[in-house]
């Protein structure tokens, strides 16, 4: 046990920021508000750095006990924080990316009202997220778990002037409650199984238990935890809330719904890897769900025109990849992808935000185009992210994605291939978004203007990270867990994956770039060229008819309209509707008439009387 690093400072600083902004932010000038917000996060980032440097390479986890929280019978739960190699990564991501996004948000939210409110919520979120990450027992994790849910709920509902944001918040809320339900149930199961909630105790005990060939208590715990994870990390079928959550301000989408909160699910699965390793059934479920999510979300992404929606679905699908990794026991690869994804997805969202900002709130890609000259910096930074997510070698995205797919290959062949195709589709729709946004001629009305430095600055940092970050963090990440298959010779597999990515880009370029570029020149082209162009055009149409339309139509009608909108939305809203319907019936029992109330009492009395006679009389 090394000497105390007073880890508690890390979450407390943002909390102080939140309190300051929340209580007297209304009276402070914007400068002060943003200063408080940023400095609080900066402080905790620096403190993280200090702690990590002091703690060295963490061969043994560093734990700190502050006070005993609950002492009921055998069960003792303390407020304990812990830093191990897994936590280290998460801390760096959360505080680092969080800091950048805070800075970005200052610029982005400049004209919004409720400036201080926004930042106090954002800091509050940081507090809970850091608690979640640092917690040493499930209960404390649950604190953070609930807290981030609450914060994101408030932030999604931030623009509640539009009713839509309210509904989005509501959906997010219902789905998250389902997740929390699973998590808390898992927690109770853990309590009665291991008599403790402390990570070290629980996992030591679990490590002694045998691998469950058939579903057993561990499987139940693992699955329930995974239900919670599905809720938080937007996996099938609980992912519906995430695309709608885009109603919130873009920095929120970037921070909460791309970089940090949604990865909490992956984190908890990785954290509980000991349990999952002993529950193969649960592992299979995890990987299947992950795969399914990845595919469905990616194909839906192809059809979207709202730029934020595209990235939202891509987030869902990337999270699917992460769970695939966990399913294949390659937890470190999953966390690795969490890290890289945090970088490039943050860039994508912030870039998108910058675009929207530039176009005064325009989100429909059909009204964009040709922006690369208008907002070059945003474009440049987005290119990094684009290449990263498409898995172009040399960018960090490729590293993690390769690891994942290789690990999956180790688990099962066909899943690997599906994953590869999905990777291709991913590359396709992100490129599509890029081309529709930045290439071609501008189709919108608003007058674009480059964003202020406070926005572009963070973009650049993150962009560079999404290029190099992977290489920086690789060793840190791999120090976490079991040696993954990533090392050793998988040249062929890696080649396939890269090829898939490039193919996707190429296809997109073909259909959204050349087509457009050539078709412009067609107008003024001369005869001989014309034929060629014409053929080209044919080919293109052929492609269009043979590939794009079916994919789009298929995923549009089946996946998006059918599954997403009808089925899952239907279910989620249906839950609400049934509940309130029951409520209506119950209300009708309250007619306000004393005799009928008395009747209830008499009825109850008779029932109780008979019940007491019938029940347990024999025993």
């Amino acid at each position: 046990m090394t000497e105390s690093q007073s880890l508690w400072l890390i979450p407390i600083l943002p909390l102080i920021g939140a309190a300051l902004n929340g209580l007297l932010g209304r009276r402070l000038p914007k400068m002060a508000v943003s200063a408080i917000a940023i400095l609080s996060v900066l402080g905790s980032f620096l403190w993280v750095m200090k702690c990590l440097s002091a703690l060295g390479n963490l061969d043994t986890p560093h734990a700190e006990h502050y006070f005993t929280w609950i002492q009921s019978g055998a069960l003792e739960i303390g407020v304990d924080f812990m830093v191990d190699r897994l936590t280290r990564i998460m801390l760096l991501i959360v505080t680092g990316v969080g800091l950048l996004i805070h800075i970005y948000a200052v610029g982005y939210m400049d004209h919004e009202e409720g400036f201080s409110r926004f930042f106090s919520y954002l800091n509050l979120f940081m507090f809970f997220m850091l608690t979640l990450v640092l917690a040493k027992n499930f209960l404390l994790v649950f604190v953070g778990w609930e807290g981030v849910g609450l914060a994101s709920y408030l932030l999604i509902g931030f623009y509640l002037k539009e009713k839509f944001a309210g509904d989005a918040g509501k959906k997010a809320f219902i789905v998250n409650r389902i997740g929390d339900f699973g998590f808390s149930l898992a927690m109770f199961l853990i309590v009665i199984t291991f008599g403790s909630l402390d990570f070290t105790k629980v996992f030591e005990a679990a490590a002694k238990m045998p691998v469950e060939a058939h579903a057993g208590i561990l499987t139940a715990i693992a699955l329930l935890l995974f239900v919670g994870a599905c809720g938080k990390s937007a996996q099938m079928p609980l992912y519906v809330w995430l695309p709608d959550a885009m109603a919130g301000p873009t920095p929120v989408s970037a921070l909460i719904h791309a970089a940090t909160m949604v990865t909490a699910g992956v984190y908890i699965v990785a954290r509980a890897s000991v349990i999952f390793d002993r529950a193969p059934i649960a592992l299979d479920v995890v990987s299947y769900i992950g795969l399914l999510t990845a595919v469905v979300a990616a194909t839906i992404g192809v059809t979207q025109y709202d730029i934020k929606k595209v990235f939202a679905y891509s987030t869902v699908s990337q999270l699917g990849f992460m769970f695939m990794a966990c399913g294949a026991k390659a937890y470190s690869s999953g966390i690795f992808h969490v890290a890289t994804h945090a970088f490039f997805k943050a860039v994508l969202f912030l870039g998108a935000g910058s675009v929207i900002h530039a176009l005064h709130g325009e989100q429909d890609m059909r009204n964009m185009g040709g922006l690369r000259s208008k907002i070059p910096q945003t474009f440049a930074t987005l290119c990094f992210a684009w290449l990263a997510i498409s898995g172009v070698p040399g960018f960090s995205g490729a590293l993690s994605k390769d690891e994942i797919l290789i690990a999956v290959h180790g688990k099962s062949e066909w899943m690997f291939w599906v994953g590869v195709v999905t990777a291709g589709i991913t590359a396709f729709y992100v490129s599509r978004a890029m081309f529709m946004t930045f290439f071609g001629e501008y189709r919108g009305k608003a007058h674009p203007h480059e964003s202020p430095l406070s926005m572009t600055g963070p973009l650049w940092v993150l962009a560079l990270l999404s290029a190099a970050g992977g290489y920086l963090m690789r060793d840190l990440v791999h120090s976490i867990g079991p040696e993954t298959a990533s090392h050793g010779d998988h040249g062929s597999l890696e080649f396939i994956i890269v090829a898939a990515g490039l193919l996707g880009i190429g296809l997109a370029a073909f259909m959204y770039l050349m087509n457009r570029g050539l078709s412009q020149s067609v107008a003024k082209a001369l005869g001989p060229v014309y034929r060629l162009v014409y053929d080209k055009y044919r080919v293109d149409e052929f492609y269009d008819a043979a590939l794009v339309r079916p994919i789009q139509a298929g995923s549009e009608s089946v996946l998006w309209k059918g599954l997403d909108v009808l089925l899952i939305d239907g279910v989620v809203n249906g839950v609400g509707r049934t509940a309130s319907a029951i409520g209506g019936i119950l209300r009708r029992c309250q007619g306000g008439h004393v005799p009928s109330y008395a009747t209830w009492i008499v009825l109850g009395a008779a029932l109780v009387l008979i019940g007491f006679q019938l029940v347990g009389g024999g025993r």
Partner: protein, 486 residues
């Protein structure tokens, strides 16, 4: 049996009730003598506060020498003291939270405080009662004064109606309770819980007739704690009664009723738990469902809180069902946390509702955060606690309760209970969102700042909620030590 004449120890153990009675009588006598026209009597208010504080001190002091009093009529033990202190504390909080309301309605007078103190005295008797007759009388003292308090606004239709319903249905249910007492007396020849327990443990009492009396008493108690299917009165009464009174009713009398419920069924009827546990199981489940689902559709916030109080009674019933010291401790903790939260929440409601309780719609809370940040903040704390968000008292209340339920092997009840609390969160959050994200409503715009007393009440309640949420151990340890009833 010691001498029939009371000793000083007896009086010490009865001290809280004595203090409350004396001060209450004093208030009653001073009422006609202190009259200033504008219906504001701070001196009486402070007298009431002092009396309550003194009574709390007396209760704590009495715990220094626990034991039976007045020939086994009372039993001062940890359990009883816990609830005595709890109801007295609730009363204190209520006095602070009621003052604005009473002044606004020109109703601040000695009678209100006197009745409050008498009612609390009755609840203290309930908390420490170890004999069915004194228990019954304590219950009636608490109830009758509650009837009057519910109808305290003579000129308000809703207040009358709530008083009438509460009174008629209350005495109706009391009839059943009394019938049960008669039977248990007839079967065991005693009304002293200890004697009854011994007699039953010795056996020889016909189990079926015993079940008869147990069932009848169950009806009476379940009514008082508003457990389904005997909860029908609660929404109407809480909605119609003056908000501070609703706050008090949903906290103090309910806690005391649970105290006797627990005491009677764990001591006297403890030996026949296998008979009553299933009925409790069903009632608990039904109560949770009715409370939560009916609350989903409410637009009147007082009514919503009434249904939510039913739902929370359901959670406590879960704890009672587990029939273990853990469960009892959980119930005690939960009731404590719930009392503060509810009084606070109703206090905010009564503040927003304004004169004549015009604004009790949820929409009337729109934009409260913008105009009255403190009110909104404390309300948020209370509601998060009611939801059961961690770091608030409500979370641990639920945590312990469901843990106790699982320890008792009631997995299904736990699962369903958790589902219920998942549903419940919706209607609380609705209010929070309305408060923080909507444009201020008319009601909110014309609010005057709250008086310092009211603000103190809020902050005290909120502080207690957070304190119990962050450092629950102290209270829980006491509870689990006190939960061993015999």
């Amino acid at each position: 049996m010691n001498s029939l004449f009371p000793t000083s120890a007896d009086f010490i153990r009865f001290a809280p009730e004595i203090v409350l009675t004396v001060v209450g009588t004093l208030l009653m006598l001073l009422e006609p003598l202190t009259g200033d026209g504008k219906g504001e009597k701070p001196q009486l208010r402070w007298l009431a506060i002092a009396g309550l504080a003194l009574a709390m001190a007396a209760a704590i002091f009495a715990y220094g020498d626990p034991g039976p009093a007045f020939n086994g009529m009372l039993l001062v033990d940890g359990f009883g003291t816990f609830f005595s202190v709890l109801v007295i504390g609730t009363g204190l909080l209520t006095v602070f939270c009621a003052q604005d309301y009473l002044i606004r309605e020109k109703q601040e007078n000695g009678e209100f405080y006197a009745l409050l103190l008498f009612s609390i005295a009755g609840q203290c008797i309930m908390a420490t009662a170890n004999e069915l007759i004194i228990l019954f009388i304590g219950l009636e003292i608490s109830s009758i004064s509650s009837y009057i308090l519910a109808g305290f606004l003579r000129e308000d239709r809703r207040s009358n109606e709530s008083a009438l319903k509460y009174f008629l249905l209350g005495s109706f249910a009391t009839g059943f309770l009394l019938y049960g007492v008669a039977w248990i007396y007839g079967l065991t020849g005693s009304t002293n819980l200890a004697t009854i327990q011994a007699t039953l443990a010795a056996g020889g009492v016909n189990p079926r007739l015993l079940a008869l009396s147990a069932a009848l008493m169950f009806v009476g108690f379940a009514f008082k704690v508003s457990a389904a299917p005997f909860q029908v009165w609660a929404p109407d009464v809480y909605q119609g009664a003056p908000s501070p009174v609703s706050a008090f009713l949903s906290a103090g009398p309910k806690a005391a009723a649970f105290a006797i419920f627990l005491r009677v069924f764990t001591t006297a009827f403890g030996s026949m738990a296998d008979r009553w546990a299933p009925v409790f199981w069903g009632s608990a489940l039904l109560t949770m469902i009715v409370g939560n689902f009916a609350a989903l559709r409410q637009d009147n916030i007082k009514r919503m809180l009434a249904y939510s109080s039913i739902a929370h009674a359901g959670y406590v019933m879960v704890a009672v069902t587990s029939h273990s010291t853990v469960g009892t401790a959980a119930a005690m903790f939960y009731l404590a946390s719930y009392a503060f939260v509810n009084v606070g929440a109703f206090a905010v409601v009564s503040y927003v509702a304004a004169k004549g309780e015009k604004h009790v719609g949820i929409g009337d809370f729109a934009g409260l955060a913008a105009r009255q940040p403190l009110a909104a903040l404390v309300m948020t704390i209370f509601f998060t606690s009611l939801i059961g968000v961690p770091l608030t008292a409500g979370f641990f209340g639920k945590f312990y309760i469901f843990k106790a339920a699982l320890d008792a092997g009631m997995v299904w009840l736990t699962v369903l209970g958790l589902l219920n609390s998942a549903v419940a969160a919706y209607y609380y959050l609705r209010v929070i969102v309305v408060m923080y994200t909507h444009e201020p409503s008319v009601a909110v715009n014309e609010l005057e700042p709250a008086s310092s007393g009211l603000q103190f009440g809020w902050v005290a309640a909120a502080a207690a909620t957070l304190a119990l949420g962050i450092f629950p151990s102290a209270l829980l340890e006491f509870a689990s030590r006190a939960a061993i009833l015999r």
